[in-house]
C-alpha cells in the first residue's frame, strides 16, 4: 500500500514533463489523436470558478501547464467558516510556507459523553503536527501563486454558463465583474462574459456550476462555529491542543470541537440530521468546555454547509467539479481542505496532459481520468472514515467505546498516519487482530453498560 504514497508524489513529476505530440503520462492520459489541435495555435482556455484551495491549486497547475486560465472569485478577503486544519502532507505537497500555519496542534483531547478524556498525540514524532490555518490567509496565498504562474485572477461573481452549440465549440461564462475598488464582492458589478473551452467548478458547497451542469444534490451537514477570544491564561491550555467532544448532547451524528486559531479559539459543532437544533448543540458544546473558555468574548459567529458525499454527477461535457463543489469531504472528521486542493491540482493536471500542455482540445474523457485517479487514490481513506462514522458515531455507547479505543497507542499511530499522510497502511497483522478484539470488546462493554443505564432511574 506504500505505492499509494508514491502515487501521491507522481503528479509533480507529471507537471515537469516537456510538451510533445501525444505521449503517455504516468496517469495514462493520452492526448487523443482525435482531439483536434486548437485553431490558430491558440492555447486552451479554462475558467476556474471559485478561488478557494481547490480553485487556487487548479489555477496554478493549469497555468504552469501552459493553459490560459481565468480564476473567478467573488470575495478576495473571504473568511470562509472553516475548522482550518490541514494535514502535514499538504504543507509539503503544496510547498506551503510555514508562516501560513498559525498553530501546530500536537495534542488532541477526545472527550466522551460521560467526560472520559483521552489524550492523543503521544505517538507523534516531533516534526509531525496538524496545521491550523486561517482560510483567508491560505486562500489568498494559493491565489497569488496561481497569479504568478500566469493565471488571470478576476474578482467577480459567477452567474451561469452556456453550453456550446457544436461539439468542439466554446462555453460562454457569464459573471458579474467587480472592479478592484469594491473587493467585498457585494456592491454593484458589471455583467461580462467570455468564452472558454472548459470549466472547473471550484465554488464550494453551494456551487452554481454544479447547479448549471445538473450535478445533483448531496446530503450535507451544517457546521456552526463561534470564534471566542479567551483570556491569555486560558489560551495557554490550547497552545498546541485541540479538543473533540462527542455525545448526543453535542451532536447526534458529528462532534463538537474547540480548535485553536491564531489568537482565539473556535468552538463549534455540526449535524446532518438535526439541523434545526444546532443552537442547542452549540450551547451544549460551550457547556462542556465551560471552564476552559470562561470569560471569553464571542468575536464572530459563522456557519456553513459541509457535503457528506460526492454529487451524483461530477463531470458533464467539459465541465467538472473539484473540492467541496464535488463533495470531497470525509466522513467522521469532516476534512475537506486537503482534498479540495488535491482534487483541484489533479483535475488541472489531467486537463494539461489531455490537452498536451494546452495545444489540443480536451474532452470529457480527459476529465473522467481525473475522477478515476482521484477515486482510486482516496477511496480507501473515505471508506474507512465512513465505516468509523457508522460504527462509532451511532450512539453514546459507541462513542464511549470510541474514546476508550483512542487511548490505545496502536490506534493513535494508525489514525495519525492515515490522517497526516493520507495513506491507509495496513499495519502488523497481529496488532490488527488485537485491535479488532479490543474494538469489539469496547463496543460490547459499552453496549452492556447502555443496557444497564436504561434500567437506572435517577
Amino acid at each position: 500500500m506504500t505505492s499509494l504514497s508514491s502515487a501521491v508524489a507522481l503528479p509533480s513529476s507529471c507537471r515537469a514533463r516537456p510538451a510533445g505530440g501525444s505521449r503517455r503520462a504516468r496517469m495514462v492520459v493520452t492526448a487523443a489523436a482525435s482531439s483536434p489541435k486548437l485553431p490558430n495555435g491558440r492555447r486552451l482556455r479554462v475558467a476556474v470558478v471559485g478561488g478557494g484551495p481547490a480553485g487556487g491549486a487548479a489555477a496554478e497547475a493549469l497555468a504552469k501547464g501552459g493553459v490560459e486560465t481565468v480564476l473567478i472569485e467573488r470575495k478576495m478577503d473571504n473568511c470562509k467558516p472553516c475548522g482550518g486544519a490541514i494535514p502535514l502532507c499538504m504543507v509539503s505537497e503544496f510547498d506551503l510556507p510555514l508562516d501560513l500555519v498559525d498553530r501546530k496542534v500536537r495534542k488532541m483531547k477526545m472527550i466522551s459523553p460521560s467526560n472520559v478524556a483521552v489524550d492523543i498525540g503521544r505517538t507523534l514524532a516531533p516534526h509531525e503536527y496538524i496545521g491550523m490555518v486561517r482560510r483567508e490567509v491560505l486562500d489568498a496565498y494559493l491565489r497569488s501563486r496561481a497569479q504568478s504562474a500566469g493565471a488571470e485572477v478576476v474578482n467577480g461573481l459567477f452567474l451561469r454558463y452556456e453550453a456550446p452549440k457544436e461539439p468542439n465549440g466554446s462555453y460562454v461564462v457569464h459573471y458579474n465583474h467587480y472592479d478592484s475598488s469594491s473587493s467585498n464582492g457585494k456592491i454593484g458589478g458589471e455583467k461580462r462574459s467570455f468564452e472558454v473551452d472548459a470549466i472547473v467548478g471550484a465554488d464550494g458547497a453551494n456551487s452554481r456550476v454544479a447547479k448549471d451542469m445538473g450535478a445533483g444534490d448531496y446530503e450535507y451537514a451544517i457546521a456552526f462555529q463561534e470564534r471566542v477570544k479567551i483570556p491569555d491564561d486560558k489560551m495557554v491550555y490550547y497552545e498546541e491542543r485541540a479538543e473533540m467532544y462527542v455525545g448526543d448532547d453535542v451532536s447526534p451524528d458529528f462532534y463538537g470541537w474547540v480548535f485553536p486559531k491564531c489568537d482565539h479559539v473556535a468552538v463549534g459543532t455540526g449535524t446532518v440530521t438535526h439541523k434545526a437544533d444546532i443552537k442547542k448543540f452549540q450551547a451544549a458544546t460551550r457547556l462542556r468546555a465551560k471552564d476552559k473558555i470562561e470569560g471569553g468574548k464571542i468575536i464572530r459567529v459563522e456557519a456553513h454547509p459541509i457535503p457528506e458525499h460526492p454529487r451524483p454527477k461530477r463531470v458533464s461535457g467539459r465541465v467538472t467539479l473539484v473540492g467541496d463543489a464535488a463533495g470531497y469531504v470525509t466522513k467522521c472528521s469532516g476534512e475537506g481542505i486537503y482534498f479540495a486542493a488535491k482534487s483541484g491540482r489533479m483535475c488541472a493536471e489531467a486537463i494539461v496532459a489531455g490537452s498536451a500542455n494546452g495545444t489540443r482540445m480536451v474532452e470529457e474523457s480527459d476529465l473522467r481520468k481525473y475522477l478515476a485517479e482521484f477515486d482510486r487514490l482516496y477511496w480507501p481513506t473515505y471508506k474507512v472514515l465512513d465505516i468509523l462514522q457508522k460504527v462509532f458515531y451511532r450512539s453514546n455507547a459507541a462513542r464511549e467505546a470510541f474514546v476508550e479505543m483512542c487511548a490505545d497507542d496502536y490506534v493513535q499511530k494508525m489514525t495519525f498516519d492515515s490522517y497526516l499522510y493520507k495513506r491507509v497502511v495496513p499495519g502488523n497483522p497481529l496488532d490488527d487482530i488485537k485491535l479488532a478484539v479490543n474494538t469489539i470488546g469496547s463496543l460490547v462493554r459499552a453496549t452492556a453498560l447502555r443496557r444497564e443505564m436504561e434500567k437506572v432511574t435517577l
Binding site: 459523553p113 460521560s114 467526560n115 472520559v116 478524556a117 453550453a163 451542469m213 445538473g214 463561534e226 479567551i230 455525545g247 448526543d248 448532547d249 447526534p252 440530521t273 443552537k279 450551547a283 451544549a284 460551550r286 457547556l287 462542556r288 471552564d291 476552559k292 473558555i293 470562561e294 468574548k297 464571542i298 459567529v301 458525499h309 460526492p310 454529487r311 451524483p312 461530477r314 461535457g317 467539459r318 470529457e364 475522477l371 477515486d375 473515505y382 471508506k383 465512513d386 457508522k390 451511532r394 455507547a397 459507541a398 476508550e404 487511548a407 469489539i440 470488546g441 469496547s442 463496543l443 459499552a446 453496549t447 452492556a448 453498560l449 443496557r451 443505564m453 437506572v456 432511574t457 435517577l458
Partner: protein, 249 residues
C-alpha cells in the same frame, strides 16, 4: 457476542430527548436526592436506592455547590439568541468516585472487588452525565476505563443469561423439529444429522436464533446490508450515467 448484533443495528433517529440541562426543571428532585444519597451512603457505602416519588416537588436549590450555573461566555450584544438559561444542574457526586475514576477499594465485598457494583455505579454515572451533561475539568479529568473490569465479570452478568435464553430457544425448536421430521419421514435423530438438507436447516436455525431476537431485527439486518454499500453507491454515481453527449443546459 450476544451484544454485538444490537451494536450494529441502526438506532432509530429518535433524538427527541431534549437537552436535559435545565429544560426539565420540574423533574429535578434536587434536595431530596441529595438527602437520600447522603443517608444511604453513610449507611452502607453502596449505590443508593433510586428515588422516583418526589419528582413533582420542584425546589431548585441554590447553585452554590453545583457547577451548572448558567454563566455563559457570551458578549452582551449576542449575535445569536442566548440559549434558555439552564437551571442549576446537580453535578455528579459519589463517594466512591475519586479523582476521575472509581476507587476499587470502596467496592470491597469479602476481600474481592464487587464488579457488579462497579458496573452498576458506572452505568449510573453515565446515565447521570447523559441527562445532565457537565463541563469538563482539566484538574479532575475522568480517566476511568471499562477494561479494568475483568472479562468474566461481563460474561457472567450479560452474556450468560442471554446465552441461556438462546440455547433454550434453540433446544426447544430443535427438539420439536426433530420430532416433527421423524414423525413425517420416519428418519430418526441420528440419521437426520447425517442428511445434508437437515444440516442446512440446522445451520439456518442456529443463525436465525443468533441474529434475530426480536421482530425488528429482520428490518435492522436488511437496513444494515443497505447501509454498508450506500456510501459506495454514492461515490460511483458519477460513473453510472452513460451519456458522453453534450452537456446539459
Amino acid at each position: 457476542m450476544a451484544m454485538a448484533t444490537s451494536t450494529f443495528s441502526p438506532r432509530p433517529a429518535t433524538l427527541n430527548k431534549p437537552l436535559r440541562a435545565g429544560i426539565q426543571l420540574h423533574l429535578i428532585p434536587f434536595p431530596h436526592l441529595r438527602a437520600g444519597r447522603l443517608v444511604c451512603a453513610t449507611a452502607a457505602g453502596e449505590a443508593p436506592p433510586v428515588e422516583v416519588e418526589q419528582r413533582d416537588e420542584a425546589e431548585p436549590a441554590p447553585a452554590a455547590a453545583s457547577n451548572g450555573a448558567a454563566v455563559k461566555a457570551e458578549a452582551p450584544a449576542a449575535k445569536t439568541e442566548p440559549p434558555p438559561a439552564p437551571a442549576p444542574v446537580p453535578a455528579f457526586r459519589d463517594d466512591r468516585w475519586v479523582n476521575g475514576t472509581w476507587d476499587l477499594t470502596k467496592f470491597d465485598k469479602g476481600g474481592v472487588v464487587d464488579w457488579d457494583a462497579v458496573i452498576d455505579a458506572e452505568a449510573r454515572r453515565r446515565k447521570w452525565l447523559e441527562d445532565y451533561p457537565e463541563a469538563t475539568n482539566t484538574d479532575e479529568a475522568v480517566v476511568f476505563d471499562t477494561s479494568i473490569i475483568p472479562w468474566w465479570a461481563w460474561m457472567k452478568r450479560f452474556h450468560l443469561p442471554e446465552a441461556e435464553k438462546l440455547n433454550g430457544r434453540a433446544a426447544m425448536v430443535g427438539f420439536f423439529m426433530a420430532y416433527f421430521v421423524d414423525s413425517l419421514t420416519g428418519v430418526g435423530l441420528v440419521d437426520q444429522m447425517g442428511n445434508f438438507f437437515c444440516k442446512t436447516l440446522l445451520f439456518v436455525a442456529v443463525a436465525g436464533v443468533l441474529l434475530i431476537r426480536k421482530n425488528e431485527d429482520i428490518e435492522s439486518l436488511k437496513k444494515l446490508i443497505d447501509e454498508t454499500t450506500f456510501y459506495d453507491k454514492q461515490w460511483q454515481a458519477t460513473w453510472q450515467d452513460d451519456s458522453t453527449a453534450g452537456p446539459k443546459n
